[in-house]
Symmetry: C3
Subunit: 418 residues, 3 copies
Amino acid sequence: MTTFAAPATGPADLVARRPVGLSLEAPFYTGRDFFDLDIEAVFARSWLFVAAEAELPEPGDYVTVNLGPYSVIVVRDDDEEVRAFHNVCRHRGARILDDDRGSVGNIVCGYHRWTYGVDGRLLHAESLPPGFDPTCFGLRGVHARTVAGLVFLCLAEKPPGDFDDVAARIEPYLAPHELRRAKVAAQIDLVENGNWKLTMENNRECYHCGGHPELQCSLFPVYGYTEQDVPPVLRPAYERFLRAEAESRTTYESLGLPYQAIEELDTRATGFRIQREPLDGAGESFTEDGTTACARLLADFPTARLGRLSLHMQPNSWFHFLSDHAITFSVIPLGPDRTLVRTTWLVHPDAVEGVDYDLDTLTRVWTATNDQDALLVARAHRGISSPAYVPGPYNPTEYQVEAFVTWYVNRLKAHLAR
Amino acid sequence: MTTFAAPATGPADLVARRPVGLSLEAPFYTGRDFFDLDIEAVFARSWLFVAAEAELPEPGDYVTVNLGPYSVIVVRDDDEEVRAFHNVCRHRGARILDDDRGSVGNIVCGYHRWTYGVDGRLLHAESLPPGFDPTCFGLRGVHARTVAGLVFLCLAEKPPGDFDDVAARIEPYLAPHELRRAKVAAQIDLVENGNWKLTMENNRECYHCGGHPELQCSLFPVYGYTEQDVPPVLRPAYERFLRAEAESRTTYESLGLPYQAIEELDTRATGFRIQREPLDGAGESFTEDGTTACARLLADFPTARLGRLSLHMQPNSWFHFLSDHAITFSVIPLGPDRTLVRTTWLVHPDAVEGVDYDLDTLTRVWTATNDQDALLVARAHRGISSPAYVPGPYNPTEYQVEAFVTWYVNRLKAHLAR
Amino acid sequence: MTTFAAPATGPADLVARRPVGLSLEAPFYTGRDFFDLDIEAVFARSWLFVAAEAELPEPGDYVTVNLGPYSVIVVRDDDEEVRAFHNVCRHRGARILDDDRGSVGNIVCGYHRWTYGVDGRLLHAESLPPGFDPTCFGLRGVHARTVAGLVFLCLAEKPPGDFDDVAARIEPYLAPHELRRAKVAAQIDLVENGNWKLTMENNRECYHCGGHPELQCSLFPVYGYTEQDVPPVLRPAYERFLRAEAESRTTYESLGLPYQAIEELDTRATGFRIQREPLDGAGESFTEDGTTACARLLADFPTARLGRLSLHMQPNSWFHFLSDHAITFSVIPLGPDRTLVRTTWLVHPDAVEGVDYDLDTLTRVWTATNDQDALLVARAHRGISSPAYVPGPYNPTEYQVEAFVTWYVNRLKAHLAR
């Protein structure tokens, strides 16, 4: 029963004194200074998943990515490469493209008609001053990369150098799902009333999964248990899980699909975790009975029972690749207490809605799960906003939450040391 | 005709230079720094009226009190005592109870199902880390007290020590109205667009009561006048007031009801004022003709003409206790320019709506008066926000406003001196 | 491809290093500190156009002007002079008049009925303290001036001394339009989602006018071109412009109407530009075919082909005076990224709606143009908010934008030097 004073300490002190094994102190989640620091130290310096290549299939197709104060145009150029540019006119700075997505021949600013190519070069402008050199006024570039159909960008001048290695290691897992040629079946944006790190932490544990009845149909209810401590009531489920795991390994190996977990969540700049695992029920997909949601599989697989290939990437994305569809999730901070979660469902390019898949069936499990998570994140944010909040203990099933937090704090430390 | 610069002075300087006899300088009302200081120095250190016991009649009944960044659970425990706890899970800090009120067996966090008793002890949680001691992870307590059916809490570790004395002195006035067993007939929350101190100041004078036609039916229109200066036009009303006062004293004394004013508004930590006074018109209640609004009286009184027992408490509440009902008012700051006013009407537990009382008749006078006051508070806040505002003079009828301000400034001084 | 850090520099540094020939750095538009500085250094120290006299034709008529934290009552007094007072009661500071406009006998505060004359003197208040001197508690005055039917005010104690000279020089241009006796046909308030300086900059160039199809009907499409560089495709329009200019000068001279440009936009405290110019099409008014929108002309002109008399005043207004109507525009900052644009259409006092003019025809061109400009201003604000924005080059057709910016920066310099 103590009085709780607002901390007089700044981000550097809070970062330095972060204890191991406990949740972060409140200002990490509630402070405007930490929000700005997170954009600068984490989001402007890391590789970020921002779109599927399927979102921009043709030259001139673009999406705009708005991240904190930044706006970036991601566009497929005339050589079919994906490129990225700051969405800021070099004249007096107007936002150039206003829509979330579209298709253009050239990139034309709607204010004074300055006209840039999809390669970023300034092609035309009226009434230019004497001595004006258009080659000095191309759009400012942003680093962009694609990996097996996923588009990543990095706002930093020098992006983390380990991305080549990460790409090389995850590409063999992802490539069989042939996402580069997939099509977008659905995309849903959800705004959560909490800090982006609470959104990520919530994603990184299944300790709360009892609150996800739809999702529980396809997840084995043995999260966090081992042979030693599985309780008697869960013993049948645990046996079912062991059988499914053995069976699925045989399948993966016969198909040449890599499946072993690689877990480097907090030991590198581009932290990640990847693993292929069986699903419960029919074992095919994230549906209420576990059967496929799309009759046309993503690739020419001999079976639909491929479980889920799950990828987590720091700081802001996760993915599930199934035999019949893939789901991508990206998280964009909007404010200290507001976060955008964008979920995209990808299917085979020739799959036909209403014939091969029903949109509601395809999206039901994760739409429900996301909505449930949004309530939990809001509840978490409101709670830690109280001066009575003190950091509490992670338990063993929350080790990936702690790995996320450790990775994050290390990014801040690296930035503050510059 | 001067230019008005924003003050470069901080709260400590403004507190130190506060002049006597004039309204406060603008930053006290408009500044975010003063808002935070008010929460910390005043609301987190004073005893606050937060609910009537009638709002939680049974074990397990609770209300949540949200005050600035704090959220508190006020719950009746299994021994029928009222207790209070911070509404923050000891795991990773989630808000535990989301509703304004309800009833529970245990207090269960909706995130990971950590389960606490209504005495705050941690009873159960899954997957705990090795060596975890649940006795270290009970809910953090908040001081709670009840006085004659009113629930008070204090967020400070060491609450003001004078509350026992205040309770002992007001209890004999309040007890005859038997609020401990009353029931809630209505509760209305109103958000005023002004600083909480403007809400309180408005409550502490009747100089503006010409703007309250409904209320004026039961108040003698002689506020601020004495024998010497009552104007001729009000002479008949003044005579009526004197007769009512003499008559009512006889009644109060014959019934053993204390009525003399005790006024210690700015001379102690728990400032208060209490007095029983006659009402105009029929003299029974706050209705448009002054007759009772509820046929069933609050207690076994031989007459309904008991006037009003009025209690003011610093920093944020006032009350009127009548023969037939009681009305409580509590004020909660929401932001520098937003304030919640919660009004609760209490009646005899066996009074039946539609039979003994009509809800609209019961609530009409104070609903109208509150709505009128909300407009005045908004007008006051907008005005003092202008750089052209300079503190103006209180007049003699505003002495209780000045007492509130003096009490408030003394609280800030005491806090800043720590 | 660089990382963009938030500037550690304050307003004084940014003002000092402002380069010539380039747009301003982002914090001028996005920072709360610059917003406050703009109110204090520019809006509270300059003469501001705030209303047409036609908005307060009779004694007691008033408009309230809300500007940042200020609220000002502009009222016609009993001697028919226009006067201005801070809209703040001298008692405890309440906002006195809540409506945007109205008519009063006295100025009565709605809180405690303190009553002031339309000359600002305190006439009456109840329950005043002993020794109270009402002559010390009149409303605080604000400097007010009228010029040819336009009302200007200045919040500073010492307004810029050059206003007499400006008034003397623009009055001969304006007086023939007899606005003092005009009536308000329409007034529209529009909130733009951008900084007020972007609104002004947008007004001060026609480089973007290709985006204004309705306006383009009456403007010659040769903006920014000279004899030397007019492109062949615009040659016919340019010849048409030269003929109209020659013809109109003959008309202006025969009628004794001054028309030559005076351009002192950035060389004085009260920067301005005035010029009478021909219009394209029928050459009479801002309508889609260039004919008059009001059959009753503003004054007893022998022809309606008077083109447009255009006046720009720093910091926040512009005007077009035509033979049949006049349009005034004033810009009020609401926040760093929100700006009010008020447009008022004035016609002859005896012109009858539905007979002499159709309201939709009268207002169509500028309503459409304002709506288009609002989108451009929002686009400009969003763009410069990106850390990737770098100031870009003005071209020769944007010299009045640069003049505005230079005037503005000089005001900040003068203020910061105090």
